[in-house]
Symmetry: C2
Subunit: 333 residues, 2 copies
Amino acid sequence: MTQSREVRLKSRPNGMPTNDNFEICEVDVADPGPGQVLVRNHYMSVDPYMRGRMYDRKSYVPPFQVGAPLDGGAVGEVIASNSDAMPVGTFVQNGFGWREAFVAEPRQLQPVDPEVAPLSAYLGVLGMPGMTAYVGLFRAASLKDGETVFVSGAAGAVGSLAGQIAKIKGCRVLGSAGSDEKVRHLTDDLGFDYAFNYREGDLLARLREGAPDGLDVYFDNIGADHLEAALFHMRQFGRIALCGAIAVYNDASPRPGPSNLTMAIGMGLRLQGFIVSHYNDSRDDFIRDVSGWIAEGKVKYDETILDGIDQAPAAFEGLFTGRNVGKMLVKLI
Amino acid sequence: MTQSREVRLKSRPNGMPTNDNFEICEVDVADPGPGQVLVRNHYMSVDPYMRGRMYDRKSYVPPFQVGAPLDGGAVGEVIASNSDAMPVGTFVQNGFGWREAFVAEPRQLQPVDPEVAPLSAYLGVLGMPGMTAYVGLFRAASLKDGETVFVSGAAGAVGSLAGQIAKIKGCRVLGSAGSDEKVRHLTDDLGFDYAFNYREGDLLARLREGAPDGLDVYFDNIGADHLEAALFHMRQFGRIALCGAIAVYNDASPRPGPSNLTMAIGMGLRLQGFIVSHYNDSRDDFIRDVSGWIAEGKVKYDETILDGIDQAPAAFEGLFTGRNVGKMLVKLI
């Protein structure tokens, strides 16, 4: 038997999540049964999409249940094994986040190689957020070399990779972020051609300044006023990848959509909603390309790491206040 | 010299257009110069998109000018010719609507054959609205055989053909229209599987009744509440062809968009805006398929014809009050 702590949903957030919506519990994890393994997580992921699962509604993933542990991406190490296929010492990516240790079947776990990349990278640039950036650009937005691309929330885990990939493809890349420090990071460290602080000034004016000839692609992580401003500035046959809408995830009631969506008609715009699993067939391409670019030094990635499972609620809340640069993670060991 | 009447934009409409926004003027049309022809129009078209050109704003077609004649689709006959290529008696589709007669170069005119279809059909089922339906389904919405399709404004020139084409492709087809009489026409005469009056009851409830398993394709001619209801009822990977938004064309100020656009993310929905000219390379396919279907009796088309150019403003206004079944036309001769 192993001691573990886990984070449970204590109550459904109304608006912005707070510490009161979560509780951290000590639990006993049973020894692994026949064919099973015991895993101790090293890192867990907090991601904006998890906010949607805190509502009690039908969606593409089932809602979290009040009183039950949350789940999500994590990476850990097998510390006891009844499976020849997955011996002690195997590092595994898994869906049992928000907890320190757990028992699972090997088929629920994906071995990863810590020699290829640090464990934490499998939750970010080489994991779900990284693949989201990759398929969002190439599949949802049908990116072509040399186009003009705007990425909102560009300092986040998804946006920062999306912008860098677009640069690799010879694009002019604009990014928005929520602080002057992040804006400088985008231009000075990540190679964005133009970046601006979306908390200041007029979004459309900034887009016009950064892309006088308009946008071919908009990679939308924010929604709301960002989407409306981008629609006003798209070029004919432009494509918008609807990836996220972090601006509205905490809205207590539905917010009106962009008032200029009809512009899509005359301009021939495409808006393509997606989540990463819609494009699972791009997984091999993603791993090959992005690991290659990391090895060549063409892609950088940032992590904001909070320490200890008791910091998990704060890490999650920080996604909505802009506390993270790059991937937000919680270190569990 | 030939006498002609033409309709001019007297003032820009504020909200719903009225007779006061138009004036009808007598003009002298000069004799055709070298290489030119004189055309007398038989029919002129009024189309919802013309409302957009009455605003003074940048769009995909230049705005109409106050004091100048309007223009748009028409079909007429060459009554005087200085061109061997286009002798007297040639019937021509042209962009010189809203007037009885005009002089033009042959390259501005498209000969049509009144033996293949009545002249008026070249402004409807075999013209711009027909091709809009065709490319909207096959190109913008990537229609597949046997899918479930919802067409709004289904009794109009575009919608009625879109629905019939989808039926030919083995689809289950739902349509909305603005009167009980039109609804009966859709189901009893045009073969729609389910139709409803959008002025009564709850749109989403009707969609759920008509398509319990959801919609694969939504062909949007109306926008606004229709688009929002359809978004709520799309199946995963559904496609929405954004063709028109007649509900908002007369809005004096921008109207908020659908509050549920973020559903596109998890459901992987595509919204594709288009106008017919974006898909001009489908013209031959369109003519071949639709004339074939008409000849086989698989496609029916309706026309609502007002008589005389002085009725042109009323015909145009009637588009927004639902006066037409099928294509709205003005007979000029």
